[in-house]
Every structure is written in C-alpha cells, then in structure tokens.
Amino acid sequence: MTTSEYDRYRPPEEPRRRRRRDHAAAADSPSEASAYAVGTAVAPSAGSAMGPDALATAPSGSAPAAGRRVGARRGGLAPAGGDGAREMAMVPEPQFAPADGYYGRPVVKAPPWDERVALYLVCGGIAGGSALLAFGGQLTGRDALRCNARLTALGAAGVGALALVADLGRPERFLNMLRTIKPTSPMSLGSWILAGFSTGAGVAAAADVDRLLGQALPLGPLRRVLYGLEAPSGALAALLGAPLAGYTAVLLSDTAMPTWNAAKDDLPFVFVSSASLASGGMAMITTPTAQAGPARALALAGVAGDLVATKAMERRMDPVAAEPLHQGRPGWLMRWSERLAIAGGIGTVVSGLTRNRWVAAASGAALVTASAFTRFGVFYAGKDSALDPRYTIEPQKRRLAARRRAGIMHDSITTAG
C-alpha cells in the first residue's frame, strides 16, 4: 500500500523495534487473535484503499471517512494506511469512548509470566494429586500406585519448581522466596507449601527409588533414617498435596487481572478438580489398571468437578470479565479441555470396565492434557484480560454504578471534594 508515488523510491523499511514492554510483547504472542485484537481493532479504512489523487481532489466535507471529523471523535477513524498501516491497525485513534480508557492502553499490567508459569500450574496440580494417591497407596498397600505416584509427585514438583525459578527475573535469588512468611501473599505461602511438599515428596520418593534400585544408593546408616521418615514424609506430602494443587487458584485470583480476579470464588474448585483428574490420569498411565482403581475414581470425580465448577465459574463471573475465557486461544483451550475431560472420563470408565491398559493410558493422557488445557486457558485468559482496558473499566464502572444505585456512596475513589 502506498500513499505517495515517491514511496517506490524508498528502500524497504526496517521492521520496527518493539517497545520493551510486557504488554507489547504479549500482543506479539499468538493471543493477538484473541479478545484484545477483536475488541479494539478498528474497522479497516476506506482511506487506505484510496489513492492520493482521489483525496487531493476530493472537496472537504465530501471526503471519505479517512479523516472525517465525526469519525475521529467517535473513535471510528480508520487506521492509517500507507507506511504505518501494519502498526496502525492495532493503534486506536485519539478520541475514545471512555470505556476504551486512555488510547486503548491497558489499565492494569499483566504479570511478566510466560508459559513456564502455566506449566508450573499444571505440574503443581499433578504433583499435589499424585501425593494424595501415593499416600492412599501407602495406606492401602498399593505398592505400584504408591511408588509411581510418589515419583510423579516428585517429578512434577521438581519440573514445576524449576520452571518457576526459571521464570524469575533474577533466578539466582530464588531462595529469597523463603525470606519471609507473608500470609497476604499466596506466592509466599505457596513457596513454603512447595518447599514442604517437595521435602516430603522427595524423602518418600527417595525411599521408593532406593527400593527400586535394590538399595543401591550409598546411604549407609542414613538408610534407616530414610525408611523411618518415609511414612511421615508421604503423609506430609499428602497433607500439602491439595494446598499445592489449589493455592495457585488463589495466586491467580489475588491479582488485579480482571478474568482471574472475577473467577475468585470458583477457580479453586476448578483447579482442584483439574488436579484430581490430571493426577488420576497420570496414575492411569503409569500404573497397571489393577492398582489404578482409586486413580480412576479420583479422575472421574475430577472430571465431574471440573465440568461443574468450570460452568459455575463462568456463569458467576462478570460477563465482560469472562469474555477472554471464550475467545481466541484461551477459548480454544477451554473448549478442548472440556472435550478431552469428557472423552477421558468416558475412557476411564471404559478402562475400568475392560482393564485395558492402552485405553487407560490413552484416557489418562487425555485427562492430563485436559488439565493442562484448563490451566493454560485460564492462564492466558487472565493475561489477555489485562491487555484490553475494557475488561478492567467496564466491570468496575458497572459495580460502581450498582453500589451508587444501592445508595452506597462512601467508598468511591472519586470524590467531589
């Protein structure tokens, strides 16, 4: 597209450097097709299709929409064509309806978390549920289940913790997570939970590993200690399993990200359900069907809980704040999560009836994937919701107006004096 006949004399433009801003980086990501873009992109320009001559000769007033004042005022002004078109398409016009805030820029900032944190959310769920299964196995003498679940718990916790550390701005300072205990900080409590859980899961798993290796580990007199600590460690991990699987819901909800925050009442249920079906699924993959009965039961409970809790959550959320869950990449993930959960649930039932290891493994994989999709979906939806100011402004204006209608005047941040 060219607006000047002389543009052809110019060398091709270098691609523009992006701002070193998180929201810009996020806009770069595949979620570009999400609600943000859909919500704010302005209609393609009539002007962009016009040649300069047409414009130059068009009398003022009858000129097409490109520069018309009315359009400008209402924010409907076309994006620039010509040179700036690529960038302009995302850039809203100066005069904005108030819901678009300040030039359509985000009001809140998405956290700088990338997929590693989403991965941690998944791993945390698997680890927490697995510890519960392991403890159950430990108590009920299901050795394979106990051993596999312990290893899963430790592995998932380890991968998750590593992902979390890697996502830090200063990974070398990860120990500062244990610098203080802050009840107001789910991340602080979560760090302590993760530390405790990992210790428990680690000791318990070490005992099983030692057994698997025929006591080949060079433990010496510590072996007795290890075996002595095995049971309480397994109990500790199980005690912290559900918190580990669920605290991340609070971590997400305890933010100003509109979608996460709006989901605060129900997200823990979604997350524990998702953790249950994922850990059950993992156990169905790793463990012979004979010992995997409780895993299947847990998975089925998780599927049921997941479907119910997710629906309830979406229904109870502010409709605008819920939008990102249905649009773009998170929408896709959430839809497929549901489908896979249902499919996995059916497969679980089938595998329970047929005792077919392959069906069990496939169902387990579907469930694990469903859980991952749920958590990635929720993760992305929250980040997306930060990008469009509408998700922040509209629910807030609505609740403010509702309070004012109800005669509650004392708690507004805006005051007349």
Partner: protein
C-alpha cells in the same frame, strides 16, 4: 490470622505506618497532583529518570497519542504525563459527571462515616426515587451514573450558543458555569499511588516490597527476585519488572570513527529483572529532600508533603474550582474508604478517571483474600476427601 491476612493496614486506619514498628515513624508522605495547572512539560518524567537513573523506554517513534510518547507508567517510567484532547461534547460530559458527583453528595471524605442510610437519603432527595435499582430510563447504562435531575442534556445543549450560560441549578453548586470551551487539552502526571492497602506490597513473597516509615511503598532492588506477582497485584498497572536497561543512545549510529574518552562512563543497566516503580524518592526522603519530580515541577502541579495537608489542599482546590463553575473537577484517591484505602498520591482530575487511564473503581485484590482462602480451603478439603473416597470406592487392589 485475620490480622495477618487483612489487607495491609486495614487495622490501622489510613496511617499505614502505625504498626510498622519503626523506631521513628514519620508522618505519611504523598503527592497531590493538581492536573488543572499541569502544563504537560514532562519535567517530572525527566527529573525522575535522571535521579533514579532509569533507562530510556523508547524506540524513538511517536506513540500516536497526542504529545504523549512515553505511553504509561512502567518499570522504566515512574512518572508519566497523559495528554488528552477533547472536544466540546466530552467537556460537557465531564462537567456533567462532575456535577453528578456533587449532586450525589459525594464530598464524602469529610463525613466519611456518614452511614449508608444518610447517603441513601441524599440520593433519595436528589433523584426523587428510592435507592435501589432505578428504571432504565433514569440510569443510562453507558455512563453508569444516575444523572442529576433537571440537568439533562437539554439544559446543557441550550448553552451551546457560546454566550454566557444562564445560572444553573442551584442545588448542585451555586455557581454559573464558565463558557464551555470548544476544546481542551488535558494533561496529567501519573505516578505510583502508594496505596494505603497496596496490592503489590501484599502479594510480594520476598519482602522486597515494604512499607517505609513515611507510609510509602518501595521495592528493595537488592531483595527482589523478579517473581512478578506484584505486577499482577497492582490495580493501577504501575509496577513492572524491568526487562533490560539500555540507558544509552544508539551508539551503533555514532558517526565518530574514534572512541574518545567519554566524560561520563555509560551507566550500566541497573536492576534488570527486578520489579521497579516510583519510590517516592525514598532515598531523598531519608534526608528530608523533596522527591525529584515535585522539586522540578515548574507550576507546582505536583505537590509533595504530608498526606493529610495535601488532602486538605486538594479539597480546597476542588472547592475553588467548583465555585468557578468547573464542576468537572474531582479528587481521586483522597477517600480512605475506597477500594485501596485511599492513596498516598492524590489527584485532582477534570474528567472520569478512565479517561486518564486510571481504573474507575480499583479494589486491592487482597481485600478479598480471606474469602479466597476460605473458598480454596473448602476446595482443598474436597480434593482430599475425594481422594479418600476414591480409595474407599476405588475397588480392590
């Protein structure tokens, strides 16, 4: 536990330093940013960057937002001047919404503890309707604000002629509004709010963020590990993790074939990967110096001082503007009962907060934390119970 999980300082009113156990607690400091006298010079932005050695935050291209080329607050930009161009209809809407605030009995700070019923009474008196859901006609969904009666569009439109407007409804503010100009250009210097209940501070897991003896909220660069939770915890989108710290011009473009001795060695990138935001010049406050932005501000649009005094000054200024008929003036952050317990940085705005990119009804997320913990506790218990049940019902070995 209740006290520990309560939003910071909820237990201590609007002086968040009171139980911080400082040997020498000081009066709470803050800013009052009076946007009605801001000239948009951006001295605050430069003075801030210069003092804090913050990196350049730009690709050196226009940001397509009037004269604002720094876009917003972030890790490298701790003061940001917004530029908003508005035509007459927006000005009238702003004036109208301000008038509605006044009519609603919104100067609530003075009688902050007026019981809700009183507020209802006022509403009833003004709107002539009982509190509660009003008819759709009375509440335009777009604005979300109940309009003051008898101040409908027609009245405003009748003053469009440009001549002096007739005396307006005396019940709102007994002044003659000035002529509505054809156009205005709002400028406003935004900054960290230093909330009474600070979301960033509450959610920080390392203790890098802390409440200072001046009541401000500051990141300790040497402690923060860049987990980024605070970024999500801020209802105002202020704090951000620093990505890189290029404080240099485009050196690769330097035409000089030689590298002469530089008068100043380039500042190395600082605090990369660490959460960054306005410190209210904590280092300067320690020595009773004025924060860099407030010291530089040519027109005293940015005022620094003890928050209590500033809020008084802000109220006086609003009253004065209202007396001039500029009902669009309003305060932002002065109310200790708002969703963040009031802010240390108080603003005088001339339009709705969202026009400036500020949230209209921010709420510190940790305010709901006890409930979130309770819900999560139930969920976790359910999971444990489900596991137990699974073993009971999960069949034989």
């Amino acid at each position: 536990m209740q006290r520990l999980t309560a939003p910071d300082s909820a237990a201590v009113g609007d002086n968040p330093t009171a139980d911080a156990h400082y040997a020498h607690p000081r009066a709470r400091k803050g800013f009052f940013t009076d946007t009605s006298i801001c000239i948009g010079c951006k001295a605050c932005e430069v003075a801030c960057k210069e003092w804090n050695r913050n990196p350049v935050d730009s690709n050196y291209e226009l940001s397509n937002s009037s004269f604002d080329n720094s876009e917003g607050l972030g890790a490298d930009t701790w003061r940001h001047v917004a530029f908003i161009e508005q035509d007459r209809s927006r000005i009238e809407a702003a004036r109208e919404s301000g008038r509605a605030l006044v009519s609603l009995g919104m100067p609530q700070i003075r009688n902050a503890d007026v019981p809700t019923t009183a507020g209802e009474a006022i509403t009833t008196a003004i709107t002539g309707a009982a509190p509660g859901p009003l008819s759709a006609a009375a509440v335009p969904p777009a604005s979300g604000l109940p309009p003051a009666p008898e101040l409908g569009d027609l009245d405003v439109l009748s003053s469009l002629g440009g001549g002096p407007t007739r005396p307006e409804d005396a019940r709102a503010v007994d002044t003659t509004p000035p002529d509505t100009p054809e156009f205005r250009w709002l400028m406003s210097s935004d900054v960290c709010k230093h909330c009474t209940n600070a979301g960033c501070l509450d959610v920080c897991p390392t203790g890098a963020l802390f409440r200072t003896e001046h009541g401000t909220v500051v990141v300790q660069d040497d402690v923060c590990n860049g987990c980024g939770t605070c970024v999500a915890g801020c209802p105002f989108g202020v704090i951000e993790r620093r990505k890189d710290g290029i404080a240099q011009p485009k050196t690769e473009r330097s035409a000089a074939p030689v590298t002469p001795t530089r008068p100043g060695t380039p500042e190395p990138a600082r605090n990369v990967g660490v959460a960054q935001k306005c410190t209210l010049c904590y280092d300067r406050l320690v020595d009773d110096q004025t924060p860099a932005c407030a010291q530089a501000c040519p027109t005293t649009s940015i005022k620094f001082g003890e928050r209590e005094d500033l809020v008084d000054a802000a109220r006086e200024r609003v009253a004065r503007l209202h007396a001039e008929g500029r009902t669009e003036a309003r305060l932002y952050g002065a109310n200790p009962q708002d969703g963040v317990g009031g802010t240390g940085s108080v603003f005088l705005l001339l339009d709705e907060p969202e026009v400036y990119g500020l949230p209209p009804d921010p709420r510190v997320p940790t305010a709901d934390l006890p409930r979130m913990y309770a819900r999560a506790g139930i969920a976790m218990a359910s999971m444990a119970a489900a596991s137990a049940l699974a073993f009971m019902l999960g069949g034989r070995k």
